[in-house]
Amino acid sequence: MSLPNEDNMASQLSSHFFGDLLDSIIVDVASECHRIARLGLDRNLEDEEEELRLSAQARVRVADPSNSGEANSKYVVDIFGQSHPSVASEVFECMNCGRSIVAGRFAPHLEKCMGKGRKARPKVTRSSTAAQNRYSRGSPVSTYSPYSNSTSSNRLSNGTSGVAGEEYSNGTFQEP
């Protein structure tokens, strides 16, 4: 068992050392900040704080239910006069297979149509072969493709309707 005096001294010493270490760290930080400030390297705190304030304010206002929020119900029409919800209901022709597709279902259609799915229908029209030639050769488009009917009949899958009769587009190259 150590004497109470020794305990006192030990804790005094450790406090002393701790104080020294703490002082050293504080002066370190002060010296670093002093340099940053004197050399003009400190970030523009005012601007930063302003942005923070604006964001905090915005969050409060938006969260407040009494404010006319941007809930969809506020707007009956958008800036173009459309009424919400706007479902992409336009119908157009798929440039790959020529079918009439509803816009809102075009992405899944294209997935299958362009060869990803089981029912892939790589439709070969004059325009699409011309496109393929262009990509593979890197040369300008020629309207008359040497690979017309013979390959197309090989590549057609089991004769789904709507494809067979449309092998020749009328010559104008469609840009996808």
């Binding site: 020294d20 670093e32 340099r35 970030r43 523009n44 958008d78 800036i79 459309q82």
Partner: protein, 495 residues
């Protein structure tokens, strides 16, 4: 607007420092040079080689800060520096032994001298860039060239008002209350992800201007032909890279000897982790004593700080140090060597847990500024900071680097990983528009500030301001009919 400071300023020396320099020049600094000790952490201290613990000449104390007189090398503690000055005429300047900082004993203040800092920096190994793909040309030269090219492109893209192809579009609408060029995009079946990004790209000023001013030759475009020659995007000069490509610098420092290995990698966007620190600047400003889940906030600047922070590589990631010739613990630090014209910041909100084999989305709110100053994240700032912010020229210190950015698009995601929805907010003529696929509405700025951001698009301020002016007279391609119908929304527009 705040006055921007140049990358570093030489502060005016105090009278005593001036006098000292006049009388002694650099001799004091040079004599100290051999006593300067550099640590691998970028710090410098003074080590008097005659061993023993340095003690104050006056009181023999060894605790607290000690200062070494530059003229007579005597050591004083803080209490007795003034005493030394009074007893020895002209012995005003000393060096803080622990930090190698100049101290004026008469002013009782830390002072700065570029010549002294230069001497200090001579003890540090700044590292050599490792990426030497281009052989003879030094990386400095290459980067300067590229920067000039980048700036040239920006000016060319911005200078469209002088272009003869500019056609001022006669506004047929009764009330021209919204900017031209703003259109919705139909959702073609879960394509909101694509629509959101397209909206941002379409409204990136340099990108948009390029395509609208016939800059793009569709036939000759190398991208379309599948010609993959330009893999290294640093060389690619296509419009996408000219606008979005920046350069990231990665420094790996050996913790034993301090030598650094540097590599440069091009990037077209920067992905950052969410900053989930417990303390926020607002806590400190508002004098909150305890970190509180509710009061701490994540900020974009915090994320960028995290991105450029020195990161200790784990002990299983030891790297081979050329100097030590051994595997050593290392520290890695990222910084931005060259900023692009359009800065695309991506927040990693999707967290993958390899342990649980699960992914989840982090919905935490992230504060982001509308005006962004990227100076602190430049390589020159980061590297300089690593060595104690000494007054010293660091690679990439060109004072004409543009670092002020303005936001013009925010892509937000709502929902979960499995099912969610992307929406883009666009800033046109300082008004914000919410682009939810084909549904476009004007919204308050506050809605945008309070939104959960996922990707932020910033453009160099100068280009942003020009773009604002350009919006009133939009360039049109002479080939195309101005009223080409786009499915759905334009028929009503052009009635």
């Amino acid at each position: 607007m705040s006055s921007r400071n140049p990358s570093y300023t030489n502060p005016k020396p105090c009278k005593h420092l001036e006098d000292y320099k006049l009388r002694h020049g650099l001799s004091g600094y040079k004599s100290i040079q051999k006593h300067l000790k550099a640590t691998p952490h970028g710090r410098t201290s003074v080590e008097m080689l005659n061993a023993g613990v340095p003690r104050c000449n006056s009181c023999n104390g060894f605790q607290g800060r000690l200062y070494l007189c530059l003229i007579c090398n005597s050591v004083s503690c803080l209490d007795h520096t003034l005493l030394h000055t009074q007893s020895e005429d002209g012995h005003d300047l000393a060096v803080d032994i622990e930090r190698a900082e100049l101290y004026c004993c008469v002013c009782c203040d830390q002072v700065y001298d570029p010549d002294f800092d230069k001497v200090v920096m001579s003890k540090h190994n700044m590292g050599v860039p490792r990426d030497d793909k281009h052989g003879d040309e030094s990386i400095g030269e290459r980067l300067v060239k590229r920067r000039r090219l980048g700036l040239g492109v920006a000016e060319e893209l911005v200078d469209l008002k002088k272009s003869k192809q500019l056609v001022s579009m006669r506004d047929r609408r009764d009330k021209s209350c919204y900017p031209l060029g703003l259109r919705g995009l139909n959702n073609l079946g879960s394509t909101c992800f694509m629509n959101s990004v397209l909206q941002a790209l379409l409204h990136a000023p340099p990108f948009r201007n390029y395509f609208l001013s016939e800059g793009h030759n569709h036939e000759a475009c190398q991208r379309r032909s599948g010609d993959r020659l330009y893999r290294y995007s640093g060389d690619c000069q296509c419009i996408a890279h000219r606008v979005f490509s920046g350069l990231l610098r990665s420094d790996v420092t050996c913790m034993t000897c301090g030598s650094t290995s540097t590599t440069y990698d091009p990037c077209v966007d920067i992905s950052v982790d969410l900053d989930t620190s417990n303390f926020s600047p607002t806590d400190i400003v508002n004098k909150r004593s305890k970190p509180n889940e509710n009061s701490s906030i994540s900020t974009l600047l915090g994320c960028l700080d995290l991105f450029t922070r020195q990161e200790k590589l784990g002990s299983e990631q030891k790297l081979f140090c050329e100097t030590c010739q051994e595997m050593r613990d290392s520290v890695k630090q990222m910084s931005i060597r060259r900023l692009p014209l359009v800065l695309c910041l991506h927040i990693k909100r999707f967290e993958h847990s390899p342990v649980r084999k699960m992914s989840r989305k982090i919905d935490r709110y992230l504060q982001f500024p509308f005006s962004l100053d990227m100076t602190p994240y430049l390589s020159s700032s980061i590297v300089r900071n690593r060595f104690g912010n000494r007054i010293f020229s660091v690679e990439g210190d060109e004072s004409d680097i543009i670092t002020d950015f303005e936001i013009f698009a925010v892509v937000t995601h709502s929902g979960t990983l499995e099912s969610g929805h992307y929406v883009t907010y666009l800033r046109l003529r300082n008004r914000w528009y919410k682009c939810d696929d084909a549904w476009i509405t004007e919204v308050d700025e506050e809605i945008v500030r309070a939104s959960q951001c996922y990707m932020m698009f910033y453009v160099q301020k100068m280009l942003y301001q020009k773009a604002d002016e350009d919006l009133s007279s939009l360039p049109l391609s002479p080939r195309r009919d101005a009223y080409l119908p786009i499915a759905g929304c334009c028929e009503r527009l052009f009635k």
